[in-house]
Amino acid sequence: MSQSLDAYLVLAGILFAIGSFGFLARRNAISMLMSIELMLNAVNLAIVAFGAFVPELNVDASVIALMVMAVAAAEATVGLAIVMAIYRNRRTPLVDEYDAMRQ
């Protein structure tokens, strides 16, 4: 285990950045969902790192991380259901093509 908190936070930050880029730049809706998962996991890592290095937060951090995971799972499910519904309608998973609201 590294002795400084910073390493874990930097890693969490990098993961979050990669996840953001993926969310903004990927065309496939499933890829976007995977990027969202990555972002949530990065946040989780940051929370748990705080829990490990700050004794008062030990219990709370674990609880928060668990909640985040549950919410992430639920949100991924819903997102996937929406993508599947749109796919059945539009026959394409590419978000570029979902432009009915375009002016």
Binding site: S20, F23, L24, A25, M32, V95, D96, Y98, D99, A100, M101, R102, Q103
Partner: protein, 671 residues
């Protein structure tokens, strides 16, 4: 009794009802002079078309009634029944707006009486004449309606006691002139002539309106009599400005130079219209206006000189043009212009009573001449060119002899009317020191006699033209409705001079009108010369008669009389003899090119200016307004491209916004 029926009735109505046999009763008849014609107009306008052939009956009878009432009012006014300075009657308050109060009131004095005589008599005779003249016209119900409306307007003008009332009637008279000149509106030239008359009138009316506004601003009242006393206290420049502006209106309405161009074109209207409006009544409105405003003019001698100058210049200009015109009505139109010039010259030199005398005499004999010409036109089947007439004097005797009387009257031969009135004008011009007016007036007298006899010679005497010979058997005298007015007008043309103009120097008319003009006469001509028949005044009379005789003799020599034919070759040799006469002939035939000048100035150049302004309005003004709209639309179209419909773009926007907000917060908080 009437008060209960009409609780808010005009005061005069209540007065009539309350005291039917009170003193000053006659003044209550005056509003009838206005009510009857306007009722005739309303009735004929609403029901005339349905009545058809007898549409003339109601208007004619109402005008005869108006004439009768007018004669009663005139008698009362001239015999002193209204007092020395006339009487007024207020009908109701027209504009009650705080400081700006205008009453609708009527005022009758001796000057009004003289105008009433002319307006109602000639109006009545023209109505009678129109029954015959317009008998075959399907639109005659409209004609009689307009004639009644015109009578109403003219009477309102003459009777009104407030500048605003006179101005309203002024405009209304112009409107009637437009309606009547353009009566045969399908004819393009008639429609154009009507437009021209109205627009040229309007030019003068601008001056008149400005004058009225100046009166209001400087005196605070629009009542005519009240304004005179207040104007007398103003500074000379303002008085001169008021006089000049009021004269502008008279220039427009009475067709003086430079606004004379509408009158000859106005001959497009039916002949009764020419007789009534453009000879006897409407064009006299300008003369009446200046005469009524004589206290103002007397205080502005400089403006009087301008009035005289324009008057006498118009007289000689119009007389010169009448030398060469071939349309019988055009000759009479230019003759009217010339005689109106005489009247304004008389007003300008301060001979107000003489001007009114000439107004009355001219109304009668010019009305006679116009109606006679209408009868001639009817007889030769609508031919108006005098070169296509000739040899008619035996065929249409009544028309011929009445026009003969009219011609001698206008030429100024004693003892007919024109001699007295014209001589008074010329005599007074000379005696008041305006020798140039007298000299030019004398030349115009010669010219008048000449061109009038030229008209008679070409129309009635000598050999008939080819056109006349072709329809010789179909030429007949007009019906009694047309010849009776001719005879009835020939009588005053012959006798009114003696009735009103004698004794010399202190004529009946002068005594009647003395209270109206006394103040101005005192101001302008304080020294009075007694009339010397054996002295200078007698000499002036002889000179005038000699001038008229000279004109007549030359015309008889050139154009013939009765059986004696004129000599066309002599005429042509005279007009073609040298460059100067050829130029004069061409110049007068083209009306001294004033119409062309107006066309150049206002239609061509004015049209270009208007085109330029239109370009400015289209490009700059409309461009700016439309440009603002286009800018908005284009901006919207540009901004719309943010809405891509892609969620990722929106998310990117959110992310960027978040970074910007966080960054700025950190930066500012760090400070």
């Amino acid at each position: 009794m009437f008060e209960s029926l009409v609780p808010s009735a005009a005061p005069w109505l209540a007065a009539v009802a309350a005291e039917p046999i009170a003193a000053g009763d006659v003044i209550n008849l005056v509003p009838l002079l206005l009510l009857l014609p306007i009722a005739g107009f309303a009735f004929t306008a609403l029901f005339g078309r349905r009545i058809g052939r007898f549409a003339f009956l109601v208007p004619l009878l109402l005008i005869v009634a108006t004439w009768a009432i007018a004669m009663v009012v005139v008698y009362e006014a001239l015999s002193g029944g209204f007092g020395e300075h006339g009487a007024g009657i207020t009908l109701w308050t027209w504009i009650p707006a705080g400081a700006f109060q205008v009453e609708m009131g009527l005022y009758v004095d001796q000057l009004t009486a003289c105008l009433l005589i002319v307006v109602t008599t000639i109006g009545m005779l023209v109505h009678l004449y129109s029954v015959g003249y317009m008998a075959h016209d399907p639109g005659r119900w409209r004609f009689f309606a307009y004639l009644n409306l015109f009578m109403f307007s003219m009477l309102l003008l003459v009777l009104g006691d407030s500048w605003l009332t006179v101005f309203a009637a002024w405009e209304l008279v112009g409107l009637c002139s437009y309606l009547l000149i353009g009566f045969w509106y399908p004819k393009r030239s008639a429609a154009l002539a009507a437009k021209k008359a109205f627009i040229v009138n309007r030019v003068g009316d601008v001056g008149f309106a400005l004058g009225i506004m100046l009166i209001w601003v400087s005196t605070g009242t629009l009542d005519i009599r009240a304004s005179f006393e207040l104007i007398a206290k103003l500074d000379p420049t303002t008085i001169a400005a008021i006089a000049l502006l009021v004269f502008c209106g008279a220039v427009g309405k009475s067709a003086q130079f430079p606004l004379h161009v509408w009158l000859p074109d106005a001959m497009e209207g039916p002949t009764p219209v020419s007789a009534l409006i453009h000879a006897a009544t409407m064009v006299n409105a300008g003369v009446y206006l200046v005469a009524r405003a004589n206290p103002i003019f007397a205080l502005a001698p400089g403006v009087m000189v301008i009035v005289a100058a324009i008057g006498i210049f118009t007289a000689i200009l119009a007389a010169s043009i009448a030398f060469t015109q071939t349309d019988i009505k055009r000759v009479l139109a230019y003759s009217t212009l010339s005689q109106l010039g005489y009247m304004f010259a008389a007003l300008g030199v301060g001979a107000f009573a003489a001007a009114i005398f000439h107004l009355m005499a001219h109304g009668f004999f010019k009305g006679l001449l116009f109606l006679g010409s209408g009868s001639v036109i009817h007889a030769v089947h609508e031919e108006q060119d005098m070169n296509n007439m000739g040899g008619l004097w035996r065929k249409i005797p009544v028309t011929h002899w009445t026009m003969f009387v009219g011609t001698l009257a206008i030429a100024g031969l004693p003892p007919l009317a024109g001699f007295f009135s014209k001589d008074e004008i010329l005599g007074e011009s000379f005696m008041f020191g305006f020798t140039w007016v007298w000299a030019i007036g004398l030349v115009v007298a010669v010219m008048t006699a000449f061109y009038m006899w030229r008209l008679m010679g070409k129309t009635f005497y000598g050999e008939p033209s080819a056109h006349v010979k072709g329809i010789w058997d179909k030429i007949h005298e007009s019906t009694w409705t047309m010849t009776l007015p001719l005879v009835l007008l020939a009588i005053p043309s012959a006798l009114i001079g003696m009735a009103l103009g004698l004794p010399f120097g202190d004529s009946t008319l002068k005594r009647w009108l003395e209270p109206v003009f006394a103040g101005s006469e005192e101001l302008l001509h304080p020294e009075k010369h007694p009339f010397e028949l054996a002295g200078i005044d007698g000499a002036l009379i002889l000179v005038s008669v000699a001038a008229a005789t000279l004109g007549l003799v030359v015309a008889i020599w050139l154009f013939g009389a009765f059986r004696r034919a004129g000599s066309r070759s002599r005429v042509e040799s005279l007009t073609g003899s040298n460059g100067a006469t050829r130029f004069l002939y061409r110049a007068t035939l083209n009306k001294w090119w004033f119409d062309d000048l107006n066309h150049l100035l206002f239609i061509v150049i004015g049209g270009r200016v208007a085109g330029a302004i239109w370009w400015f309005d289209r490009t700059v003004v409309d461009g700016t307004v439309n440009g603002v709209g286009r800018l908005t639309v284009d901006a919207g179209r540009g901004l719309r491209r943010v809405q891509t419909g892609r969620v990722q773009n929106y998310a990117l926007g959110i992310a960027i916004g978040l970074i910007v907000m966080a960054g700025s917060y950190l930066l500012i908080a760090a400070r």
